[in-house]
């Protein structure tokens, strides 16, 4: 029988005969594990939620605004406006095949909207059908977004955000109702699915109304777009496309293509990258906090083992006298540490799993909680926890075990 088997046989005997102390330590380790798992899982949930929010603008669209030229170019003065027109959008679609979807967007602040006797003021935008996809204007069940026919026929149909729907219609069903926009009757065809939104321009999507671009022009008259929104095809770098967009505009509007101020781009894919980095940082922080908690449990475990070695000094002396090798004494103490850390950790992981699964099933209505997201278990989280537990078990056991195995049997036997 090897030293390992002998040591573990003693470990088992000691643990099974000293239950109350072992139970306390098990609880501490389980609690530490639970804390670490929960913190990491909340971090993971927050990350997922943040990334989802970052995508609320759409599938990483690029938003383009016209600016002012700052340099003279081919005999023309600096300081000219660069308008974004329908022809520009057509040229971009034609000349840059990397662009997947593109649409101009016009907007008016504080447009009066009325339903029955109720009247509110909200932002109104003129957009095209592709907004559903590239700007995540997803319609609720039983309703739809603007389509190409609406655009072609300049239909007077209205798509509204859920917050605006609440303001104007309250609890009433909005789809199918006739609402007056600046006194012009519109049929409500859709209400947008609610969404958390981190990045925005021109106010939150949930509190605005959208109509077809062509319809917009019939009411407010033709003019340059407020901005253009486009998405690029998968696998294409947005920066390369941005350069091409600049070239097309520079040629069409006659400005220096290197003039940065002539056009302004907002590449929302960048925001997603930043969010990932920030969330990575937050996760590391949460992991550290959880790790500290588990470390405290580890110190408690080490302390218990020190006390145990001290109280059992005579016993250890006796075992050495009757032939226990130092390695057997060491394995016994480290074995006790690893078993306590292992079983406690197992309990903690199980408990954390139950809580996390439970939370996944509970519907959340509070906005703050919604933003926090749901705690989520991931493989790296579990792996990190197990790794820390093994580390704790070894760390907590090593010093007491060294102390025990270095006892002088003569002095240990005399210990009171």
């Amino acid at each position: 029988m090897s030293s390992l088997a002998q040591g573990l046989s003693l470990t088992w005997r000691n643990l099974s005969r000293r239950r109350s102390r072992a139970t306390l330590i098990l609880f501490a380790v389980a609690w530490g594990t639970l804390s670490m798992m929960m913190l990491l899982a909340f971090g993971e949930g927050l990350k997922i939620q943040m990334l989802k929010s970052a995508e609320s603008l759409g599938a990483s669209p690029v938003i383009l605004w016209g600016g002012n030229t700052t340099r003279p170019w081919h005999g023309m003065k600096a300081g000219r406006d660069v308008p974004l027109t329908e022809e520009d959008v057509a040229a971009l679609r034609r000349e840059i095949p990397e662009i997947e979807e593109i649409s101009g967007e016009t907007a008016r602040w504080a447009v009066e909207m009325r339903w029955g006797s109720k009247s509110v003021s909200a932002r109104l935008t003129g957009v095209t059908a592709c907004f559903e996809k590239i700007r995540s204007h997803h319609p609720q069940r039983g309703s739809r977004f603007l389509n190409d026919a609406d655009q072609a026929m300049s239909r007077r149909v209205l798509f509204i955000g859920p917050m605006l729907k609440d303001r104007l219609f309250g609890e009433a069903e909005a789809v199918g109702q006739t609402a007056f926009v600046r006194g012009v009757p519109f049929t409500v065809i859709g209400v947008m699915v609610d969404k958390p939104q981190m990045g925005m321009y021109g106010g939150p999507d949930v509190d605005k109304a959208s109509i077809a671009l062509s319809t917009f022009e019939t009411i407010f008259g033709e003019g340059p777009y407020n901005n253009v929104v486009y998405s690029v095809k998968p696998g294409v770098g947005t920066e390369a496309v941005e350069a091409k967009v600049r070239e097309v505009f520079a040629r069409r509007h006659r400005f220096d293509p290197t003039d940065e101020s002539a056009l302004h781009f907002w590449d929302t894919a960048d925001m997603g990258e930043d969010t990932k980095k920030i969330m990575g940082g937050i996760q590391i922080f949460l992991g550290l906090v959880g790790g500290m908690t588990i470390l405290v449990a580890g110190v408690g475990l080490a302390n218990m083992l020190f006390v145990m070695v001290h109280r059992r000094t005579r016993e250890i002396g006796l075992m050495m006298a009757i032939g226990a090798r130092r390695s057997v004494v060491t394995i016994q103490v480290i074995g006790e540490s690893l078993i306590l850390a292992g079983v406690g950790g197992y309990l903690g992981i199980g408990l954390a799993w139950l809580i996390i699964e439970g939370l996944q099933r509970v519907p959340v209505h509070n906005e703050g909680l919604q933003f926090l997201g749901k705690p989520t278990l991931s493989a790296p989280t579990a792996a990190a926890t197990v790794l820390v537990l093994v580390g704790i078990g070894c760390f907590a056991g090593t010093l007491p075990a060294r102390r025990a195995s270095r006892l002088n049997p003569v002095e240990a036997l005399r210990h009171e």
């Binding site: 029988m1 002998q6 005997r13 005579r314 075992m319 050495m320 009757i322 226990a324 130092r326 049997p409």
Partner: protein
């Protein structure tokens, strides 16, 4: 008959010095001693004379500071801690004044302990432990915890534990010191029985009546052997009776 008796313990000029800070204390100052198999040796002497130090050295719990100690011909000073542990396990049986039983283990489990360290299988451990307990008259008490046993019974368990690996020598340090006279006599009778069966026994005691039952008596004073013979030294006989 002496020729068939093998040498178990041989000490030549063995010294043991304890150091505590700047203070040095010489517990043993040159011990020459040979113990052969089938001897029953009593070590007597006043408190602090070096009896226990001698027993710790004999039992390989400690190593000498000087001189030569051979156990069955092996130089103990040259053994590693693992070799010392194995030597204690296989060749030496300890019996202590305060029994030193593991409180949470039954009588049988206590006796199994040296067999565990010797690498015996669970089945072999159990059989041998029960055999040894029967030998000391405790077959019925095998599954009792030490707290459920009397002082004399606890010491019998300790003797059974000492016998478990069939050691070359049994070292007993004041084995009756914590027992009343009658119970102590019972333990002593057990040692005499083991000796008659061919055992080698070293008994450290204050009790000259116990010493009187041994084949050889050694008296230690101030770390030196001052008497080595087959009877209690003169002048102490009166005290004994």
């Amino acid at each position: 008959m002496n020729e068939t008796r093998t040498e178990v313990i041989r000490m030549e000029g063995v010294r043991k010095t304890y150091r505590s800070g700047a203070i040095e204390f010489e517990a043993l100052r040159g011990i020459d001693l040979t113990i052969r198999s089938h001897e029953m040796l009593a070590v007597i002497g006043p408190s602090g004379s070096g009896k226990s130090t001698l027993m710790n050295l004999m039992g390989c719990l400690d190593v000498p500071s000087g001189g030569l100690y051979r156990f069955e011909g092996r130089d103990v000073a040259k053994l590693t801690s693992t070799e010392l542990a194995d030597l204690r396990n296989r060749s030496i049986g300890f019996v202590f004044q305060s029994f030193h039983l593991l409180p949470y283990a039954t009588a049988r489990e206590n006796v199994e302990m040296p067999l565990l360290f010797g690498g015996a299988s669970p089945r072999a451990r159990r059989e041998k432990a029960l055999e040894m307990l029967a030998k000391v008259g405790l077959a019925e008490r095998a599954e009792h915890l030490p707290t459920q046993l009397s002082g004399g019974e606890m010491q019998r368990v300790a003797v059974a534990r000492a016998l478990a690996n069939d050691p070359k020598v049994i070292l007993a340090d004041e084995p009756t010191g914590n027992l009343d006279t009658r119970t102590g006599r019972g333990i002593m009778d057990l040692f005499v029985k083991l000796w008659n069966e061919g055992g080698t026994i070293v008994l450290i005691t204050h009790d000259l009546r116990l010493a009187g039952a041994c084949s050889r008596i050694l008296k230690i004073e101030d770390g030196l052997i001052v008497h080595d013979g087959d009877a209690v030294p003169d002048g102490e006989e009166a005290l004994a009776h």
